[in-house]
């Protein structure tokens, strides 16, 4: 089942590349494959036993027996949610690209499908080398998607993006080699835990770049600004979550002691990223800049949740990952739609878009309000859990989190008012259309997912970690300096 989820988009990619489809058919076939992929995921979801411990839908085929490398895939609860986020956002992105009519459609859609397969592969890989292979395979289509179809600054943006990412992943490769050989296996399920701080840092380097975590976010603004909008949506919504998965499945689960020891510096970086990103988002002068920096902030928040190293932190991080993925994908797609109408994303030249464009206004407003974590929204639930988690590590962390949430409200409201309200900007013409039916059909499902999550966040938080030996919670439980569950507060560390 997991293999089908990975192979279907890859096969679709080959199909789109090799056969001489016309523009229309290339897009249609790609969209069809993406939708079937969503169907396949729903099918997996229905058959998933959330109470069972350990891997589900696992499959293992030996690849290189001497070093015990295998094609080993399978899903945990949290990987299932991240994979679901992937297939939904990718389907929306492919539909959006189809609607926007990208040049060289066969190459474009083939790459998008290839990317889908690679990301799902990352979220299900249970072998370190397989994980690395998918992690890098993700980079290849992204490099081309940004470099060929991106904006005028695309060359510099891709260069930065690739150099940053590869520098991180090569450190991870070195760590993988050393760790795998010392364990005698590259299988994540078989391999034991390790106490090596250096190896831990090798892995964290790769994920910190991918997330990105302050101060390794240098590639982020250019990449998010120069990409086609649906690629930005995928980059910030989905690709960044590969870091969450990696931190959880490898860095924390396999290196519990170093994670414990380095918790404070990592929390410090994450908190700085959270505040710094929020401030930058408040200062950004264009739509995508706000969303890009808010992504930086949100990834900081999610990392704080992860490195709270306790139940609420983990639950909150997963919920927030899914919620933020949907939010930033929606916002980037809306940014793309607005740029198509106004030919610019500069906030001073936008404004007044709400008047006569109710659909755009409603959708942007709804997403924005969910993004600023208004009580009752999915991201409120996620942020609350993360705050509970880090409060456990000292009230100061929670204060930083709360400050950042206030900042989030500031930059989101500023964005909404600058785009929708205020005086009509110079770039906005009277006859700029409201969202077209096709755009609505793409964005509304994303927002609908968000609303469902807002109504029922427990759908994810109670179904991410079922325990068992491979559960990251099991790795940190017991070796902690105190409390790891929803226990009474008097057991807190001071």
């Amino acid at each position: 089942m997991t293999t089908a989820l990975i192979v279907l988009p890859l096969a679709g990619a080959l199909l789109v590349w090799l056969l001489p489809w016309s523009r229309f058919w290339a897009g249609s076939v790609a969209l069809l494959v993406a939708l079937v992929e969503v169907g396949l995921w729903i099918n997996t979801l229905v058959g998933f036993d959330f109470d069972a411990e350990g891997l589900q839908h696992a499959q293992r085929v030996t690849w290189l027996a001497d070093l015990d490398v295998s094609y080993h895939v399978g899903l945990f609860g949290f990987s299932l949610w991240l994979a679901g986020l992937t297939v939904v956002v990718m389907a929306a992105a492919i539909a959006y690209a189809f609607w926007a009519g990208r040049d060289r459609p066969r190459s474009y859609f083939g790459l998008m499908l290839f990317l889908t397969g690679a990301i799902v592969g990352v979220f299900s890989a249970q072998d370190l080398l397989l994980f690395y292979a998918f992690f890098e395979a993700m980079l290849i289509p992204l490099y081309v998607l940004v470099g060929v179809w991106g904006g005028p600054g695309r060359i510099g943006a891709t260069l930065k993006f690739v150099i940053y990412t590869m520098a991180g992943s090569l450190l991870m490769l070195a760590a993988i080699v050393v760790y795998g050989l010392s364990e005698g296996t590259f299988d994540l399920v078989k391999a034991g835990t390790s106490g090596s701080t250096w190896l831990f840092l090798g892995f964290v380097a790769a994920f910190a770049v991918k997330a990105p975590l302050f101060p390794l976010h240098g590639w982020l603004p250019d990449a998010y600004r120069e990409s086609p909008s649906e690629v930005s949506a995928v980059l910030s919504g989905v690709v960044s979550k590969a870091a969450v998965y990696g931190l959880l499945r490898i860095a924390i689960a396999k290196f519990p002691e170093p994670a414990q020891e380095l918790r404070v510096p990592i929390l410090l970086l994450a908190a700085s990223g959270l505040v710094y990103g929020s401030l930058l988002a408040f200062r950004a002068t264009d739509f995508r800049g706000v969303v890009a920096y808010s992504s930086l902030a949100q990834m900081g928040l999610i990392t704080m949740g992860l490195f709270a190293l306790n139940d609420p932190g983990f639950d909150g991080a997963i919920l927030q990952s899914v919620a933020h993925g949907l939010i930033s994908a929606t916002l980037f797609l809306l940014a793309g739609s607005i740029e198509r109408r106004a030919a610019t994303g500069e906030l001073p030249r936008l404004g007044g878009l709400a008047k006569g464009r109710p659909a755009l206004a409603t959708l942007l407003m709804t997403t924005g309000v969910i993004a600023l974590a208004v009580p009752g929204s999915a991201s409120f639930a996620g942020e609350f859990l993360i705050l509970v988690g880090v409060f456990e590590r000292g009230w100061g962390w929670a204060v930083v989190g709360v400050v950042a949430i206030v900042l989030a409200a500031m930059y989101m409201l500023r964005l909404i008012s600058a785009v929708l309200h205020e005086r009509r900007g110079r770039a906005v013409t009277e006859d700029a259309l409201d969202l077209r039916p096709a755009e609505l059909a793409i964005v509304i499902p994303l927002v609908a997912c968000l609303l469902v999550l807002s109504a029922w966040p427990a759908g994810i938080t109670e179904r991410s970690f079922a325990g068992g030996p491979d559960d990251p919670r099991a790795a940190v439980a017991g070796r902690d300096d105190g409390w790891t569950g929803y226990a009474p507060l008097e057991e807190d560390e001071p």
Binding site: T62, W63, L64, A65, D66, L67, R104, L129, Y132, A133, F134, E136, A137, L139, I140, Y143, V144, G147, V148, R154, I155, T158, L159, V162, I163, M166, A167, L170, L171, L173, A174, V177, V178, L181
Partner: protein, 495 residues
């Protein structure tokens, strides 16, 4: 009076070499006997047949050599280690013939000689990898080197080609001299020529710190370093790669590197096991210098052939890490690495050859503009080869690097892994600049200036590129069977 005894000759062990020699002779005869306009075809067919037959024979030899032994008065090693290297050389030779085929109008005048020399070089290489004593080693080394000197200069109408031939001759001659001198010192110290007996004599006579032997070993390493184009013995590489006809460059980059590294591993492991503390460190140092110099110099190249020349230096560095590891995993890593590396290298130069013929001049990075969209197969292949050089997954280059790093870790030299990782990160910049040129230039920037007319028909070249692509990607998925082959071969060395 000295009784002249002829050793018993195991003809089967020599069969790949003899097949190539025969092909070379026939191609040369063809050049004389066949009318000139047919000479190209006849020579090409004979060379291709020679490489194909030699390929099959080496495969048979591989299968048959489950037990390693020394034949022909112990001068020749009949083992899987040699047979696998011969397979790579013959495969590279076959593809090189395919790449050379459409070079036709350019080498018309010397077509027969061209293919004869190609087959002769192949024969020398196949001989070299089986060498089991210092005399055979030197003989085979000179044999293929002289063929390559002439091949580099075969475009006698081009001054670059002549310059390449001359430079290669002089610098290569220097390397050969170092090797010969080193061999003499080793012989002087131990009184033996056979690899195995050198080791025995070293142990028996307690020569571990004999300055004569150490100096000899150092000079042997130097000589092999020249052939493997490892820094700091690399200075001929960019000029020769750039000046030689591109199909010849393709063959050299794959096959010469293969045999030089494979032989280096055999000599060091079989003949100098007692001196391993010295030579593993020396090789590791050469590897680091190659990685650093090759990558840094490649960063500033605009001419793609020169860039690939520097990249080949850095790859020599990677493969030397496998030798420096001095363990069986290293042997496996080296033999595996050579398979995708040869394919990528041949393929990349083949694409450049096609572009060169189209434009009628040396290919600068800018000249690749739009190639990816215009000629999808060549563009995609070059893209994959670059990713493979950089060691990204979905290419065999990834497993190659992984195995090399694993060998270094097993030896306990994690610092070599770090050097390799940093070098890889640097190399990404220039490999990606090729991809950037292929795909990411807007139509306005791309100014194509074909030499005239439509691009020549190049069915064989495209087939060769497709084969290289298949090997590059296939070796990623089929890593288990290939490392099994390499493992069975590496086991026969006395690690």
């Amino acid at each position: 009076m000295i009784a002249a005894t002829t050793p018993k000759v195991d003809w089967f062990a020599l069969a790949p070499v003899l097949a190539l020699l025969a092909a070379s002779g026939l191609a040369l005869l063809g050049a004389v006997l066949v009318p000139r306009r047919r000479a190209h075809g006849v020579g090409g067919v004979f060379a291709a047949l020679g490489f194909a037959v030699a390929f099959v024979l080496s495969a048979l030899l591989y299968v048959d050599s489950g037990e390693a032994r020394n034949v022909v008065a112990e001068a020749i090693a009949r083992d899987r280690f040699a047979a696998l290297a011969q397979l790579i050389v013959c495969g590279a030779g076959l593809l090189a013939v395919g790449i050379s085929w459409s070079e036709r109008p350019r080498v018309e005048e010397h077509a027969g000689e061209y293919y004869a020399l190609l087959a002769a070089a192949g024969a020398g290489m196949a001989f070299l990898v089986a060498a089991n004593n210092l005399m055979v080693l030197f003989l085979a080394l000179e044999w293929f080197s002289i063929s390559l000197y002439v091949l580099s200069a075969i475009r006698a109408d081009r001054v670059e080609s002549l310059e390449a031939g001359l430079k290669y001759l002089i610098v290569g001659g220097f390397g050969s001299a170092a090797l010969l001198f080193g061999s003499a010192l080793v012989y002087g110290s131990t009184g033996e020529l056979m690899f195995g007996r050198i080791a025995e004599a070293t142990r028996a006579q307690g020569l571990e710190s004999d300055p004569l032997l150490l100096a000899g070993l150092a000079m042997v390493i130097t000589g092999l370093g020249f052939k493997a184009s490892a820094a700091p013995f690399h200075m001929w590489t960019p000029d020769v790669y750039d000046g030689a006809p591109t199909p010849v460059t393709a063959f050299m980059s794959a096959a010469t590197k293969t045999v030089a590294l494979v032989l280096a591993m055999r000599v060091l492991v079989a003949a100098f096991p007692q001196l391993d503390e010295f030579w593993t460190l020396a090789i590791a140092a050469i590897a680091c210098i190659s990685l650093a110099w090759g990558n840094l110099a490649a960063l500033v190249q605009r001419n793609v052939k020169r860039m690939l020349a520097y990249s080949s230096i850095s790859h020599a560095g990677f493969m030397l890490i496998a030798i420096a590891a001095n363990n069986e995993l290293g042997g496996r890593a080296l033999l595996y690495y050579l398979i995708p590396y040869s394919a990528m290298s041949l393929g990349a130069f083949a694409v450049l050859a096609a572009r060169e013929r189209e434009l009628g001049r040396a290919v600068a990075l800018d000249d690749l503009g739009g190639l990816g969209w215009e000629r999808p197969l060549l563009g995609l292949s070059l893209w994959v080869f670059m990713l493979g050089f950089a060691g990204l997954p979905l290419t065999g280059g990834f497993w190659g690097k992984f195995l090399v790093f694993s060998a270094a870790v097993e030896r306990g030299w994690t610092w070599l892994v770090i050097v390799g990782v940093v070098a890889t990160a640097v190399s990404l910049y220039y490999y990606l600049s090729v991809v950037r040129a292929l795909y990411m230039r807007s139509d306005l920037e791309v100014r194509l200036m074909p030499a005239g007319g439509s691009p020549p028909r190049e069915g064989l070249l495209q087939a060769a590129v497709a084969a290289c692509l298949a090997v590059t990607v296939g070796s990623f998925f089929a890593v288990q069977p290939l490392t099994d082959l390499a493992e069975a071969a590496a086991k026969q060395l006395p690690f």
